[in-house]
């Protein structure tokens, strides 16, 4: 990873923007909160002070999950795009999110106490993401065309959501409500106590990502060239699916499905940095992905008093036209 002058300048701008937007995000909720309560909420928490409770229970978890979900999904998308040599790949379109949704639906509606708990949901989500990741990986050996693989991903998604709707019709109102809330996608369901487990999995994802930088750089040349450069392509693909499942699974468990971030952001990052060096691209995906999701959530918070926009709806409204633009640019 060699940063040229331009990359350094872009990163400096991104590093300056992040705390700025994080600050705006913290203060843009419906209720005005003084600065000192933010400080107290973290270091001298007093659970009788309403402002501090709001900060600790709502604002901070929401901000942290926005950063992790935006950055994590973008990095997962980058992995999928390089691994399948397909600029339109991403965890959502390839059905990896759908795997999470399906398994979460099973566990929430199973009525089994462990499975309906937080830890149960996370485990199911991780497992679902991994299984669907392996399915799409197996299909990638059978189909040659980029479009076919995307179609298979979309079909997997359709298949999963069909089963989910059958499960929904079978479930009782309480479970149905819990699952429907989850499936709308939201950054607001995370609690302060969840943050440690989210951070734990994100750190695993982040650290293991460092070790796939070099294989990813080689995979840009395609599988056969990567092999002649001494890369164990089979293991690398498995590692990439596992990391993607961890990132997507944990994020989906807490936020529900979030579309288009993983597809659009890596493309945007490549346009901005104009490089195939995956160390730079990953860092870029983390910053731009989290800035993107934070900005989306700021918009949602600002209009919250009059209209409730699910995060998934907003990322799709912005992401879908961008992806169409990419398709047009490639075909033109």
């Amino acid at each position: 990873m060699i940063l040229n002058r331009k990359h350094k300048i872009i990163f400096l701008i991104l590093i300056a923007l992040l705390p700025l937007l994080l600050g705006i995000h913290l203060f843009s909720g419906e209720i005005n909160i003084e600065f000192k309560h933010f400080w107290n909420a973290i270091f001298q928490f007093n659970d009788t002070n309403t402002s501090e409770v709001i900060v600790r229970e709502f604002r901070i978890p929401r901000m942290v999950i926005a950063v992790i979900a935006g950055g994590g999904l973008s990095i997962a998308g980058l992995f999928m795009q390089t691994m399948f040599n397909n600029p339109l790949a991403g965890p959502y379109i390839l059905g990896i999110n759908s795997g999470s949704s399906l398994f979460v639906a099973f566990s929430v509606m199973s009525g089994i106490p462990f499975l309906t708990s937080n830890l149960g949901t996370i485990s199911s989500s991780l497992l679902g993401a991994f299984i669907f990741g392996m399915i799409i990986l197996s299909f990638s050996y059978l189909v040659k065309s980029h479009i076919s693989l995307l179609l298979i991903g979309i079909m997997l998604g359709g298949f999963a959501s069909a089963i989910v709707s059958i499960l929904q019709s079978l479930s009782d109102p309480q479970e149905l409500k819990q699952f429907t809330m989850w499936s709308m996608g939201s950054l607001q369901q995370v609690e302060f106590e969840d943050l440690s487990i989210i951070l734990f999995f994100s750190m695993i994802g982040a650290i293991s990502s460092l070790f796939v930088i070099k294989p990813l750089n080689a995979l840009v040349l395609g599988e056969s060239q990567a092999l002649t450069l001494g890369i164990h392509v089979k293991y690398v693909r498995l590692a990439l699916i596992i990391i993607t499942a961890i990132l997507t699974g944990v994020i989906t468990a807490f936020c529900g499905p979030i579309a288009f971030v993983g597809l659009a952001v890596p493309n945007l990052v490549k346009m901005i940095f104009k490089t195939q060096s995956h160390g730079i691209l990953m860092l870029g995906c983390f910053f731009i992905g989290s800035l993107f999701l934070i900005s989306c959530d700021i918009i949602i918070q600002l209009v919250e008093s009059s209209i409730h926009i699910p995060i998934n709806a907003l990322t799709s409204i912005i992401g879908a036209p961008f992806v169409i633009a990419i398709v047009l640019k490639r075909l033109a």
Binding site: L210, V220, L227, T228, I231, T275, Q276, G279
Partner: protein, 235 residues
């Protein structure tokens, strides 16, 4: 460098056999044979990607099938018949990917690596392309860039699978001349599969030919065969 003795080449069924051939450093070998004669299978077999049906292939005195992937990547480099260029990948960075076997876990190029990248680029006289994107090059320039990447891998053997198939006459000539220069200046063993009989005769390379009637591979030193004889043996 490459030692092939009593070997049968093929994928499931035997395509042709080799009694004894030694491929040496400092030479360019043109691999000639009819379509389906087994050129690609041969190239895959000497890289150890598919096993020989019978017999042993030794590279640097070691059985190729027992050489681990990492060591192999420091021994043999491979150039495809076509490199389409990759978006946002500059020539310099592309050539730098040849250093992957030598870099640390994060893939960072050291100063020494950078120097080797520059040397490889210089070797093929493509300095003026170094900062261009690989998608902005002509077919000929892209093929030279791909060869620079293979040189950057610093292997003793470079295998090229029909590198001139998509090039015009001038560029084919340039590629062959460059390969000859490199083989002697860097003392490499270079194997090029090709359909271009005139070109390999003109460039005076050694000839590896799959005999159509005996189903055996034969090796001829340069300037020994005429085109009519090549056609007679191989087609």
């Amino acid at each position: 460098m490459i030692e092939i003795k009593q070997v049968k080449i093929g994928y499931k069924k035997c395509l042709f056999s080799i009694e004894e051939i030694h491929l040496e450093r400092g030479k360019v070998y043109s691999l000639i044979g009819a379509n389906g004669a087994g050129k690609t299978t041969f190239l895959q077999t000497i890289q150890g990607n598919i096993p020989a049906i019978q017999g042993l292939i030794k590279v640097d005195d070691k059985n190729i099938l027992e050489i681990d992937r990492y060591t192999k990547s420091t021994l043999i480099a491979f150039v495809n018949s076509k490199f389409d260029g990759i978006e946002y990948l500059k020539v310099k960075d592309y050539v730098g990917l040849g250093r992957i076997p030598y870099t640390n876990a994060l893939g960072r190029l050291s100063l020494l690596d950078m120097e080797i990248v520059n040397k490889s680029i210089h070797q093929l006289n493509i300095e003026k392309l170094a900062d261009l994107n690989t998608t902005e090059l002509s077919d000929g320039e892209r093929q030279l860039t791909a060869i620079a990447r293979a040189i950057c891998q610093e292997t003793a053997i470079i295998i090229l699978d029909e590198p001139t198939a998509f090039l015009d006459y001038a560029n084919r000539k340039i590629v062959m001349e460059e390969m000859k220069k490199i083989a002697s200046s860097l003392n490499l063993c270079i194997i090029i599969s090709t359909h271009d009989l005139e070109l390999c005769l003109e460039s005076e390379t050694e000839i590896l030919i799959i005999n159509k009637s005996t189903k055996k591979m034969q090796v001829f030193p340069k300037n020994q065969l005429l085109k009519s004889e090549l056609v007679e043996i191989g087609f």
